[in-house]
C-alpha cells in the first residue's frame, strides 16, 4: 500500500489533474461477519481516482456488503464486524483519526431505491451542506443547490419547483435528486448501490450518462446486476463470488478476456 501524506478533510479538495489515476481507496484482506456468518472472505482491491469501478456478481456474493464497508454504513447493522484494512487516501477509515460522520461526508452514497427526504427538492440538496456548515449565506446555499442539480442533470426539470416535495418526482428524477444530494456535500468518492435497478431504461440511460460525466470530478464505485451497464459506465470491473473477489481488471479485459472460469460463466450468463 502506498503511503501518502494525510491531507486534513478541511483542506479538501485537492485532486490530481485528470488523466493521472492515483489510488483513492485501498482494501486489504477485508473480512466481514454478520454475527457468526462470514460475508466477505478477505477482499483486496484498489480503487483508482476519477474512474468508475463496477462491482458485479451474483446475488449474495457480498458486493453490496463491500460497498457499505467503504463508508462504514455497515456499522448501522447490528452484529456486523469488519476486519482488515480499508484506506482512503492512505488513511485507515476504521482508524481512530477518522470519524464515521466525517468519512461519510467524504464518501457519499446513492442507494438502490431512490430515497429522497420527504421535504422540498431544495431542502433535500441543502440538508447535507447545512449540517456540515458548508454554506454560510443563503446565496451560497442557493449556489450549491443549483450547481448540484445541474451536475445531476436535473436543474432544467425542477428549477421552477424547488419548493415542491422531492417525493413528488418520478423514480428516475428522484434517483438523480439523490445523486445531487450526494454531490452537494462535495464528496471525494461516490458509492452507488444498484442505482438503476428500480428505474426504467430511459431513466437508466440518463443516470449512466450522468455517471460518466461525474467521473471527471469524483471517484465512483458502482454495484450493478446489469452486465451491460457495468460495461458501459466503468473502466474497472471487479467480479465477486460467494464472498470472494475473484477477479479485478480493466472492464474491457473482464468482458472480453476473463481469466477465471467463474467470471466467464457469470458474464456469459451461465449462472448468476
Amino acid at each position: 500500500m502506498s503511503v501518502q501524506t494525510h491531507i486534513p478533510a478541511t483542506a479538501m479538495p485537492s485532486r490530481p489533474a485528470a488523466g493521472i489515476h492515483g489510488t483513492k481507496m485501498v482494501a486489504r484482506d477485508v473480512k466481514v461477519f454478520y454475527g457468526a456468518k462470514q460475508a466477505l472472505k478477505g477482499i483486496n482491491l484498489e480503487i483508482q481516482e476519477n474512474r468508475v469501478m463496477a462491482l458485479i456478481g451474483p446475488s449474495g456474493c457480498g458486493k453490496s456488503t463491500f460497498l457499505r464497508c467503504l463508508n462504514r454504513m455497515n456499522e448501522t447493522i447490528e452484529n456486523c464486524r469488519v476486519e482488515g484494512l480499508i484506506a482512503l487516501d492512505g488513511e485507515d477509515v476504521y482508524g481512530k483519526n477518522i470519524d464515521a460522520v466525517q468519512l461519510r461526508a467524504r464518501v457519499g452514497m446513492v442507494f438502490q431505491k431512490p430515497n429522497p427526504f420527504p421535504k422540498s427538492i431544495y431542502d433535500n440538496i441543502a440538508y447535507g451542506p447545512r449540517i456540515h456548515g458548508i454554506a454560510s449565506h443563503r446565496d451560497e446555499m442557493d449556489e450549491i443547490v443549483q450547481t448540484s442539480l445541474k451536475r445531476a442533470g436535473l436543474w432544467n426539470e425542477v428549477k421552477d419547483r424547488l419548493r415542491e416535495p422531492g417525493t413528488g418526482l418520478s423514480g428516475g428524477q428522484q434517483q438523480r435528486l439523490c445523486i445531487a444530494r450526494a454531490i452537494a456535500v462535495s464528496p471525494e468518492v461516490i458509492l452507488m448501490d444498484e442505482p438503476c435497478s428500480a428505474l426504467d431504461p430511459i431513466a437508466t440511460a440518463h443516470i449512466e450518462e450522468l455517471i460518466d460525466e461525474l467521473r471527471e470530478n469524483y471517484t465512483i464505485v458502482i454495484v450493478t446486476h446489469n452486465m451491460q451497464q457495468a460495461a458501459r459506465v466503468s473502466q474497472k470491473t471487479a467480479f465477486f463470488h460467494l464472498g470472494d473477489m475473484v477477479e479485478c481488471d480493466d472492464t474491457e479485459e473482464i468482458f472480453t478476456n476473463p481469466r477465471d472460469e467463474r467470471t466467464q460463466g457469470y458474464i456469459t450468463g451461465r449462472y448468476g
Binding site: N71, T76, E78, Q102, F117, P118, G128, R181
Partner: protein, 421 residues
C-alpha cells in the same frame, strides 16, 4: 390434437361447488362483521342515550323571584337570611302561621342569602332600595319542577309536603318560578347542596393533574422510546426492559395508586389529595403507553430515510432529530394523546392518594387539595339526593366532551403532520 376431451379440473362440478362454498363462507363472515358493528353501535347509542336523557336536566335550574327590600339595619347586621325570608313570605301571602313559614324556608337554596350578600357587596348603593332578584330554589323544588317528585304519591312518602306544593303552585301562578341555564354547574366547586354544586373544581383538578402528567411522561416517554429504538444495542438487557415496559402497560391502575401512596406520600411526604401527586402517579401509568406507541411509530419510519441521512454524513442524533422523529411525530402524538385521555378518565389510582376527598374550593395550585372529574362522578353517584343523579350524568357528559375533544385533537394532529414518502 383432440380438442376438449378432458375438461380442466377448474371447470369440474366439484370445483364449482368448492367455489360456491368459498363465497358462502365469505358472505357469512361479512354478515357476522356487520352484526358485530351493529351491536356495538347499538350499545353505544343506548349508553349515550341513557346518559344524555338522564343528564340534560342538570343543565337547567329553577329560580325563585324575590322582591327584596334591602333595609339598612339587616344589611348592617349581615342578616341576609331574614331579608330573603321576608321577601319569600311576601310572595306567598297565604302563609301566615309559623309552621307554614318554616316549611317555606326550605323552598330557597341555603345559598340564597350568600347570593344576596355578594350582590350587595358588589354594589353597596343598593342598600335601602327594593330589588327584584332571582335566587336559586332548593334542589327538591328544582326536582319537583322537573317532574321527578310526583304530587300524586301520598304526602307521607313524598319529599315535599302539601304546604310546600301549595306554595310552589302559588309562585308558579304568579310567574315567580323560572328555569334558567345552570351556570353554577360550570362555575362552582363541589357542595353538599346539589343546587350549589359545580364541576369546575374537578375540571381544574383534572387539568392540573394532566399538566403534571404531560410534562413528565411526554419527554421521558419519547426520549426512552428514541433511545430504545434508535440507539440501544439489542441484547438481553434491552429485551428485559422491553418485556417489562409491555408488562407495565398492563398493570391495573390501582397498583400504580398504591405505589404512589407508598412512594410519593409515604416516602417523599408529598401532600395528600394534591394534583402534583396525582400527576406523578398518572405519569407512571401513562409512560409505558407512550413508550410503546412511540416505538411503534419510530419503527414505522422506513430505514431508507435513516440511510439517506447517514449517507450524507448526518450524525445518528441528527438523523433521529431531523428526519426520523418528524416522520414518527403523528404516531407519537396520537399515542400520547390517547394515553392522556386514559389518564383523564382514570379513577382508581386517585382514590389511593386521597384525591377522592370532598373539596369545595377550586384548587389554585399543584399542592392544593383537589379532585378530578371521574372521582367527582364517583362521589356524586354515591350521594343520596335525587338532584345528584342528574348531575352525575351531566358530569359524565362533560368528561365525555373532554375525551372526544382530545381524541379529535389526536386525529387532527395526525392528519396535519402526516407526510408521505
Amino acid at each position: 390434437m383432440s380438442v376438449a376431451v378432458t375438461k380442466s379440473r377448474y371447470q369440474s362440478e366439484e370445483f364449482s361447488a368448492r367455489l360456491r362454498r368459498r363465497y358462502a363462507a365469505e358472505r357469512r363472515f361479512r354478515i357476522a362483521g356487520m352484526l358485530a358493528v351493529g351491536v356495538a353501535s347499538l350499545m353505544l347509542v343506548i349508553l349515550l342515550g341513557s346518559i344524555v336523557s338522564k343528564g340534560y336536566t342538570a343543565f337547567w335550574q329553577a329560580q325563585i323571584r324575590l322582591e327584596v327590600t334591602l333595609d339598612k339595619q339587616h344589611v348592617e347586621e349581615r342578616n341576609y337570611t331574614a331579608l330573603v325570608r321576608q321577601a319569600l313570605y311576601a310572595q306567598v301571602p297565604a302563609a301566615t302561621d309559623r309552621a307554614t313559614r318554616r316549611s317555606l324556608n326550605d323552598l330557597l337554596s341555603s345559598g340564597a342569602p350568600y347570593e344576596l350578600e355578594a350582590m350587595v357587596n358588589a354594589n353597596p348603593s343598593l342598600v335601602g332600595t327594593t330589588q327584584t332578584v332571582w335566587v336559586r330554589a332548593d334542589d327538591e323544588i328544582d326536582q319537583f319542577m322537573k317532574g321527578f317528585i310526583r304530587r300524586d304519591v301520598p304526602e307521607s312518602e313524598r319529599r315535599l309536603n302539601d304546604v310546600k306544593i301549595a306554595a310552589i303552585d302559588a309562585l308558579v301562578a304568579k310567574g315567580s318560578i323560572r328555569s334558567t341555564f345552570n351556570t353554577t354547574l360550570f362555575t362552582a366547586g363541589d357542595s353538599r347542596e346539589p343546587e350549589q354544586a359545580g364541576i369546575l373544581g374537578a375540571v381544574v383538578g383534572s387539568a392540573l393533574t394532566l399538566v403534571v402528567t404531560m410534562l413528565l411522561s411526554v419527554p421521558i416517554g419519547i426520549a426512552a422510546a428514541v433511545y430504545l429504538e434508535e440507539f440501544a444495542p439489542k441484547n438481553r438487557w434491552t429485551d428485559l426492559i422491553e418485556v417489562n415496559i409491555n408488562n407495565l402497560a398492563a398493570v391495573p391502575s390501582i397498583i400504580f395508586g398504591l405505589l404512589g401512596l407508598a412512594v410519593f406520600l409515604g416516602f417523599f411526604g408529598l401532600p395528600r389529595s394534591a394534583p402534583l401527586v396525582g400527576g406523578l402517579v398518572m405519569a407512571l401509568m401513562t409512560l409505558p403507553v407512550i413508550i410503546i406507541a412511540s416505538r411503534v411509530a419510530l419503527k414505522a419510519v422506513p430505514p431508507s430515510i435513516r440511510e439517506a441521512a447517514l449517507g450524507v454524513g448526518a450524525s445518528p442524533l441528527q438523523t433521529v432529530t431531523h428526519h426520523v422523529l418528524p416522520l414518527a411525530l403523528p404516531g407519537i402524538l396520537t399515542g400520547t394523546i390517547i394515553g392522556m385521555a386514559r389518564a383523564l378518565g382514570e379513577t382508581a389510582p386517585l382514590l389511593m392518594i386521597g384525591m377522592v376527598a370532598f373539596i369545595v374550593d377550586i384548587p389554585g395550585g399543584l399542592t392544593d387539595s383537589a379532585t378530578a372529574i371521574p372521582v367527582q362522578i364517583y362521589m356524586w353517584a354515591d350521594s343520596p339526593e335525587r338532584a345528584f343523579t342528574e348531575r352525575t350524568s351531566a358530569a359524565i357528559l362533560i368528561l365525555l366532551a373532554f375525551l372526544i375533544l382530545m381524541n379529535g385533537l389526536a386525529v387532527f394532529l395526525r392528519k396535519k403532520f402526516e407526510r408521505r414518502w
